[in-house]
Amino acid sequence: MGPDTFIDLIGVWIAALLTLGVYSSLIKDTFISKLTEAVFVGVSFGMSIVFTYYNGIKPKIEEPLVRYYQNLHVDYATVTNAVTRTVEKIADAKTLPAESATEELADEIASRSFDTNRFFAVLDSALYKQTLKLQSTNEVAVSLQSAFASSEINLVDKATVMGALKDYFQGYKTVPTSRHFWVLYIFISVLLGLMFITRFFPKHAWLSRFPMAYTIGIGVGMGTPLSFQSQIMQQVQASFIPMLVRSANGIDWLATFGNLSLVIGTLTVLYYFFFSFKKEDAASRGATKIGIAYLMIGFGASFAFTIMARVSLLIGRINFLQDEWIQGTYEFFKYLN
């Protein structure tokens, strides 16, 4: 639980001092508490940028574009030779089907006849990967091997396999036409993203409306039908429940009471928020009061849960200070000695 290395120990101490720094604001707003706030915001933002780059920009934009550019200039013969050699090796080795396959599956694959279309599809999936570096014969070989290992194609008949490979090369391009369009799509996406930045320049700020409209349009278009179904239709449907619940032993009074209170609560709360006419008669006032009572119970539950949540955070921090900081530091130096 505590720090294992000296670097870990420094990390734990920094975290502990920052925790105390944040809590120092309970007594008074000090330089320390403001510093910890600034450190928190700065570190969070810095980490967000780095993670977004490594998980979004790098795999989705940078790597496909770099590979696309490199593959445009690759020698066709080098690639076809590498592919031929690898497929030949796979056919020679007869290691297929995949090692992880069960005996039953292995027998089934061995009885299958060679499927040319599937063979072409596997080659496509291995050779047209966004991030595949065609210049590297090693990478091509690994990509083909892993694709065939999970393909469950019977490649035992080498002559047929090599014949099919020859046919495949007749239509093979190192960079297919679809990849050119894909790159165009990446450029348009990047352009739309950059348009957001124009908000910082009042003269050109209007340009940011285009990516905004695109993003909101996509979000609303995809989200509305699903949200309508989940949050309205299914919720309304769930409120249509029996008012009298019967069980094998007669009436289930507890379930009946639960269902009744749910229906009464739903109707009275909805009625409370109905402002189209004055609610002056006794029945309306009574229904409104019941609605308010339900709302208060709901708010009370939310408030209680909020206290529970905030207290949990405090417990988490004190637990950290006790286990990792105090006890962890003690055990670290005890172990050193």
């Binding site: 769930a238 949990s312 955070l313």
Partner: protein, 321 residues
């Protein structure tokens, strides 16, 4: 005395709060925890996953037989169903997708429940996929949770052996525009996540054998601290792809999600630290971080109730004067 209290009550309350938590944390006596129906819903869904997966295969086979006997049936639908069944037969213990969607601010409440769910999925032997939601800061948290759970199989009873990344579990990491990525998983999981969090190609990993798209996932568990996080999975996982969805959340937002439990849109719900402790008790996690913190919860809640009573008494006295 009263004037001292009026001038220094904040500091006194802070100190007593701190002491209540500290005393709670050093308590070693065992606290009996009864699991609520909401927590048990997720536990049962995960515990019975192999059985429900087998039942799903049987249902699909019956459907296939019906389609094969129908001369007007679409051949594409028959092929798709055949492929789905053959994939499902590879994943004998079922497939779980765990979505971790919170930042360090909610770690105290949500990390214990994420750990317990991971360990339970490993114990059941299900294939486990982990992704993160809106917040990029979830990634380092999720990474630690999953690697700890994979290494430490002895923390549950009965224990499970070491679980290997890319074979037993796969952590996809963060992708921007979570909603679109989740929808893309309906087409192809490897297209949505071409690489895992460390940049390895996902399509060639052994875990992906028998996994193509969202239809191959049996259960979705989302642990979220963000407003709209569980709703997104109810929309995508339950409404669009028809998969059971369970959720764990901070206690602050728990009361908003009970209606989804009542409607059956969520099959289980873990609310805050208490939900995590209940889940730990059901799974038999030891050491159990959430359970250990429940004494502190008990003391601090008792203290809060006392403060409310004292505050009301003081108010009564003041209004009388």
């Amino acid at each position: 005395m009263l004037s001292f209290w009026r001038n220094n009550y904040r500091v006194v309350i802070y100190i007593l709060t701190f002491v209540s938590v500290w005393v709670g944390l050093i308590m070693t006596a065992k606290l009996k925890i009864n699991a609520s129906a909401a927590t048990r819903g997720l536990y049962d869904a995960l515990e019975n996953l192999p059985a429900s997966h087998a039942a799903m295969i049987r249902e699909d086979e019956e459907k296939l037989q019906k389609l094969l006997s129908d001369s007007k049936a679409d051949p594409k639908a028959i092929t798709a169903l055949e492929e789905h069944i053959s994939r499902a037969k590879i994943n004998t213990n079922g497939v779980v997708l765990l979505n971790i969607n919170y930042n360090p601010g909610s770690e105290a409440e949500l990390t214990p429940m994420s750990q317990a769910v991971c360990r339970h999925a490993f114990r059941v032997g299900a294939k486990l996929f982990i992704n993160v939601g809106y917040d990029v800061m979830s990634q380092p948290l999720a990474q630690k949770i999953i690697s700890d759970a994979a290494l430490d199989g002895r923390s549950v009873s009965p224990p499970y052996p070491f679980r290997e990344s890319g074979v037993d579990y796969l952590f996809f990491g963060f992708r921007p525009n979570a909603f679109q990525v989740y929808l893309q998983m309906g087409e192809s999981i490897t297209a949505a996540y071409e690489t895992d969090y460390s940049g390895r190609d996902t399509s060639s990993m052994p875990i992906m054998r028998g996994i193509k798209d969202f239809s191959d996932i049996d259960l979705v568990v989302t642990i979220s601290s963000f407003v709209g996080g569980p709703e997104m999975w109810i929309n995508v996982g339950k409404t669009k792809f028809g998969k059971p969805v369970a959720s764990g959340m901070t206690a602050v937002s728990a009361s908003d999600y009970y209606p989804y439990l009542q409607s059956g849109q969520l099959c289980g719900l873990l609310s805050g630290l208490r939900g995590a402790a209940e889940y730990e008790a059901l799974v038999g996690v030891n050491p159990a971080p959430a359970t250990r913190r429940m004494w502190a919860q008990l003391y601090i809640h008792t203290f809060a109730i006392l403060l409310i009573i004292i505050g009301n008494i003081e108010y009564l006295f003041r209004s009388k004067k």
